[in-house]
Symmetry: C4
Subunit: 244 residues, 4 copies
């Protein structure tokens, strides 16, 4: 089923939103590590503060246009859950969303680099590839998927901006991986060798863990919210009820 907003406009919104999300994550990470050089925890607190607020704002800003997924996992789960009920994204829409998210994410990292007077691209060198970190990504992504579709399923999609922002702000701390939970953002973060970066070689492990997390999340939804599939449409334009 489709939103009334033309697909090209929605793809632009996904690119802009995912891009600015990466700008927020990478940019605030650069500022934090430069300004608080003596305490990595304080850097992460600053990074989490900026990301929680920024992500909530971006979802508010673009939700009525595209649903503000900014995340291939969310888009894919939306398609998967809604595929039988004719709700959620279609495969064609999914094929527009994901490339928009990934290309937006890369541009967002470049923008952050440029604002901070760095080379447009520097490949990240932070290795993130251990079992506990992958477990962190599984937990982070499963929780995110359950949260979004639980809200939609219970008619509270209008709370998603604040809830998702708060979730990520918390998950930066309670998961060992600092909760990337998003393949597009993970790819974008490989383009900046700064606080929030991830070495390209660590990407496959992270993305596989995120996909496993998505499956775990879908499984939990089947137990907790058996009606979630019918609500997949809410995720396409989650704030439309409010916006209209």
């Amino acid at each position: 089923m489709s939103s009334v907003v033309p697909l090209w406009r929605r793809a632009v919104a996904e690119a802009v939103g995912t891009g600015l999300l990466v700008t927020v994550v990478v940019g605030s990470g650069i500022a934090a590590s430069a300004l608080s050089p003596d305490d990595v925890g304080l850097q992460l607190l600053e990074n989490a503060f900026a990301t929680a607020l920024g992500l909530a704002v971006l979802i508010l800003m673009l939700g009525p246009v595209s649903g503000a997924h900014f995340n291939p996992v969310v888009s894919a789960v939306d398609w998967w859950l809604g595929r039988r009920a004719g709700a959620g994204l279609t495969l064609r829409e999914l094929a527009a969303y994901i490339p928009a998210q990934i290309s937006g994410a890369i541009v967002g990292a470049v923008l952050a680099n440029l604002m901070y007077a760095k080379a447009a691209v520097s490949w990240a060198t932070t290795d993130r590839s251990t079992g506990p970190l992958w477990l962190g990504e599984v937990v982070a992504t499963a929780g995110l998927v359950v949260l979004i579709f639980a809200l939609a399923s219970s008619g509270r999609a209008a709370l998603a901006p604040v809830a998702v922002g708060a979730y990520i702000g918390s998950a930066y701390w309670f998961t060992s991986s600092t909760s990337f939970a998003n393949p597009a953002v993970s790819i974008g973060r490989a383009f900046s060798d700064t606080f929030a970066g991830i070495a390209p070689g660590s990407l496959p492990g992270f993305i596989i863990a995120q996909l496993i997390g998505a499956v775990v999340g879908v499984g939990l939804l089947a137990v907790l919210y058996p009606e979630a599939a019918r609500a997949a449409d809410e995720i396409v334009i989650p704030t439309s009820g409010v916006a209209k």
Copy 2:
């Protein structure tokens, strides 16, 4: 009186929610103490930031399924207040909720340990057994009970996620005990010898103080909200009005 959600599903929600709450508390405590080694206050601020946001999100996530108690004291008060009006949990439901909460809490601590590459279980060694700390738990638990049932009693149960998250974030600071205020979470925290841990030997004192706090809270409610008993049902499915 019963919710329309089958009891087994609600018990799963209580286990998952209490478990993830302990994962948030313990996991963010591990990260905070590792990343901000020089300032215990900063560690507690990071821990409180993550817990306030995470708890609010978990209540949003699971409220429509089980009421999102995640706390034997809340479940017990709900049964107690509603027992005459036929509102609130029944004894049978209470007997399903409490074991689910406790077992979930333990698994949640194990999950945090594993995400941070620690032994699955390490008994906490932090002694927490002095009179002032017990007074802190009495205050923390009484305030929590008054808050939850005040909101239900005044038709504002939909605000519980944010209000309870904010309350705990504040009570981490204003009570000397850092506000456990929850027997199940207290037990879970004994399974991780890290920042948020509590030595098993300190558990009885804390749990007794929490029960006394619950009694104090019920007494305050009798003065402030004499109609609270009739609202006990709201606590079973506090967001149902919103959720549909």
Copy 3:
């Protein structure tokens, strides 16, 4: 005009609420200065974090009972603005609210002292008596008065809990006096010689500045919200529209 809640119950709510507010302010101040000994700014951030969240929660908790003034200045302005329209507190109600607030505040300080294993009472020795600090209190109190009655005047009293909590969290920082803005809380804070304390000798200057701030606030309201007087009733039971 009167609320339907009996006056004695409302006075209890004002005492409990003002008391717990002082417990939050003093208790989190004790914790902050003990745990973050090396950075006063970090202490104030921790104190502001706990106070902003705690104050919002207390207003949510007790608003439907008494209006959750917790502040003689707010009660007095409510009486003053509503005195002709027959809205707001009556003089008799005002005479019950103010002593309840002050005695609650003192007990709240004692409770914080006891939770932190200190003497029940220790007179504060922090001198706060300079012109710039008094100017800070004028600004802080004027802003608080404008905020509360602006919300009531525009039918948004239900936002007061979050707005007042956020205001005080910000005013801790932007006023030089750290924004006491409340005669009852100021008196309570004289009973604890800790981070948030104020020497008894500094009280008269602070309270006079707060009263001047209230007058400035009423003047600003006359310009900005000429209809504010008619809304004085909203402040007696500001969340009743929601609660009912």
Copy 4:
């Protein structure tokens, strides 16, 4: 089209609101740098915490009177977008808003200086004039414009106080310029040689970058929210739907 509030009253509200916004920014900056001398990042976190909360509160406080623009760029975009539909500010109103904002901003800086026992005026000496900083201002201002008009355009102007506060709190971190994003506030900040100051010589570059950002924001709106022009009226009195 005009609000029912007389223009002089609205101009007062814009002056008071912009002034207090500068007081918040400058005052909390002074406190932060004095109290946390060893970590500039912590200073910025304290400054961002106070500004995010304070800005949200000021918009809540004055939105029903003037729309709470507090920013010549917002007022100008409102006039521009609505000029054909007869929505938004008229040119005459714009000519009242902008001087009120600028003069308020200057008085607000003086007030902060006086509260902190400093000279009423001290010209800032912090040079802020490099390409990356200008890029930061372009991004910050474009995002602000898109956010405000996206909310209005989708019938969610009542969320603007929280959303705009959160946006600025995040943008302090993710833009290299710490997100002034406001010509009037930029001018005010030149009057205090403290943490938040900007050398007068750096003003032209910042203001030009902000204007470019406004144009970029209008361009993005044309793509994302083609109906935004019709919603320009919402920005004049954005919370009237609620307030009424």
